[in-house]
């Protein structure tokens, strides 16, 4: 329907945007293998030298370990709370039901400094010292929505008749949940959890308000770039963080797209 010129223009535009989106990412990959410690283009040569040096850096290993623990705890909490909220909203009608979706989304819909600042002043006023616990609380709060969205999307796809059939055949609510509902939604719970992990692993803004003196991996990167120190190591760490978030997301994407066949859509 569109004229030939219009199609050509739109195609070219799409190509340009794709280049715009991916050239910076390609540059990150290239710089991680930079042989020199000078950050100029073109890079001096390819080398794996900085991977070894980065691993030898104790601060980086510490930060990595903290990030992994925070992400695991935050993911666990958000998987439980997000799934529970999704079940309640999907299966029950009650006053204020609409506002629950709103409340769940709020921590990521509001600008990051609002959530960070709110939690920070809350911890100061209630006298809670900043620790790994406060980082986890912050992350879990904005991860709930990721799991919630994933699980409720799957619940909406499920035919109600399946659980009704189970109940007609004598299964009570718990039995039906364990044997019928859970197997059909499990991939959505897992993929929601994976996305929550990726989100937590990469978060900076809220973390800076809740971490105190500790460094997660993104905080280490942020500090190093700001001070202009250890930039060759930053190149490597940035690539690693990217892989840490990208690979789980690809897994989760495959899961969500393969699952519906077995979930009886």
């Amino acid at each position: 329907m569109e004229s030939k010129a219009a199609r050509l223009f739109l195609g070219a535009w799409t190509l340009m945007i794709m280049l715009f989106l991916f050239i910076p990412i390609a540059i990150i990959v290239v710089y991680a293998f930079n042989a020199s410690n000078i950050q100029s283009w073109p890079i001096a040569g390819f080398s794996l030298r900085w991977f070894g040096e980065t691993w030898a850096n104790e601060a980086v290993r510490h930060a990595l370990w903290l990030s992994v623990r925070v992400a695991l705890f935050a993911t666990t909490i958000s998987v439980v709370l997000g799934s529970l909220a999704a079940f309640a909203v999907h299966y029950y009608r009650f006053p204020g039901r609409e506002s629950i979706a709103f409340l769940v989304v709020l921590p990521i819909a509001l600008p990051g400094i609002i959530t960070g600042m709110a939690l920070s002043s809350f911890f100061v006023v209630t006298g809670v010292n900043l620790s790994i616990l406060t980082i986890v609380i912050g992350h879990a709060t904005f991860c709930i929505v990721i799991v919630y969205n994933n699980v409720i999307a799957r619940l909406r796809q499920l035919p109600r008749s399946l659980s009704e059939a189970s109940m007609d055949l004598g299964g009570d609510a718990f039995y039906t949940f364990r044997r019928v509902t859970l197997p059909m939604i499990s991939t959505s719970v897992v993929s929601g959890g994976i996305l929550a992990f990726a989100l937590s692993f990469d978060e900076v803004i809220v973390t800076t308000f809740t971490a105190g003196a500790q460094n997660t991996l993104p905080l280490w990167i942020f500090g190093a770039i700001r001070l202009g120190q250890k930039l060759p190591e930053v190149n490597v760490v940035v690539l690693i963080v990217m892989l840490f978030t990208l690979i789980p997301v690809l897994l989760s994407y495959r899961m969500m797209n393969k699952a519906p066949a077995s979930a009886g859509r």
Partner: protein, 305 residues
């Protein structure tokens, strides 16, 4: 389901768990409250309480000598904000760049979304979909840092310009750099809702417009744009809000004079230890977003999210 694991035939089973299941079934309120207690407890007792604390502490002050928070009501923080020569400027810069980024992303995203929705074949469309979403999940810091490498004095951009025989550009560490980087980072948030809106437009509408003599651009202006508007607004909520609340990008690619609201808020929490003042300034993006969301809802943007 394997037969040996199926329920036994005959009389209904009796067990405490089963009695509980029956009780919950008869009283749905019980089931709903049991499910909601955890998530709502968390979000209300921690998150809403934190937001309330933020709002209230904006009306407190800090004792200059002891550094302790004084819990008595005052509007001093807001007075200080309005009367200062610096803070209104910072607020305007933040809001201005958030608008510029939003407009830029609309312009960049619209043709792409149109191509995805109406021209690309299913396979190409799926690939483009994945390619637009992928950067979103590949580490925020990595992508900001990449632009630092691109825009710096000896970076990729200047190398490219020199190769072409052009003079160096001095974009690094300026407001221009922030504008480019924010537009880059939040672009996927704009593409998705516009795509969803354009995809919903029935092809027959466009045929009808053309049958009635609407040439390409006229159809675009009179039919497609109005119908895609809710998608554009929905996307703009993300790009606007995310830019408004950011302070990492200004630190990493902005110059010394490119503070955002977030930078002032953060330095007042971390360094100056003046939480009431930081809270007062943080209410500015909160109010701006509240107004923005109110207008967006009137324009029907929430149906696109």
């Amino acid at each position: 389901m394997a037969l040996d694991k199926a329920l036994p035939l005959g009389e209904p089973q009796q067990s405490p768990l089963r009695s509980l299941a029956i009780a919950v079934w008869r009283r749905p309120a019980l089931g709903a409250s049991a499910l909601l207690a955890g998530p709502m407890g968390w979000l209300v007792l921690i998150y809403l309480a934190a937001l309330a604390t933020l709002f209230i502490s904006a009306f407190w002050s800090v004792n200059d000598f002891t550094g302790e928070i004084v819990h008595s009501w005052t509007l001093d923080n807001f007075r200080q904000l309005v009367e200062s020569s610096v803070y209104p400027h910072i607020a305007l810069r933040t809001i201005g760049i958030a608008f510029a980024v939003t407009l830029t992303d609309i312009v960049l995203a619209f043709p792409l979304a149109y191509f995805m929705a109406r021209i690309a074949r299913p396979k190409l469309r799926a690939a483009l979909f994945a390619m637009v979403l992928l950067p979103l999940w590949s580490s925020y810091l990595a992508r900001v840092y990449a632009w630092r490498l691109i825009l710096s004095h000896d970076g990729v951009l200047n190398w490219f310009l020199l190769e072409l025989g052009l003079p160096r550009a001095h974009i690094g560490y300026t407001n221009w750099a922030m504008w480019i980087v924010f537009s880059y980072i939040w672009l996927p948030f704009m593409v998705m809702p516009i795509y969803a809106a354009i995809e919903r437009i029935p092809g027959s509408f466009l045929e009808a417009s053309q049958d009635l003599g609407g040439r390409g651009l006229r159809t675009l202006r009179k039919v497609i744009l109005p119908l895609a508007m809710p998608g554009v607004i929905a996307g703009s909520i993300f790009t606007f809000s995310l830019t408004l609340g950011d302070y990492i990008t200004p630190v990493l690619v902005g110059g010394p004079g490119s503070n955002f609201i977030g930078n002032v808020v953060f330095s007042n929490v971390g360094i100056a230890n003046n939480i009431p003042f930081a809270a007062a300034f943080a209410t500015v993006p909160l109010v701006v977003m509240a107004i923005y969301l109110f207008i967006a809802r009137r324009l029907g943007a929430f149906e696109m999210m």
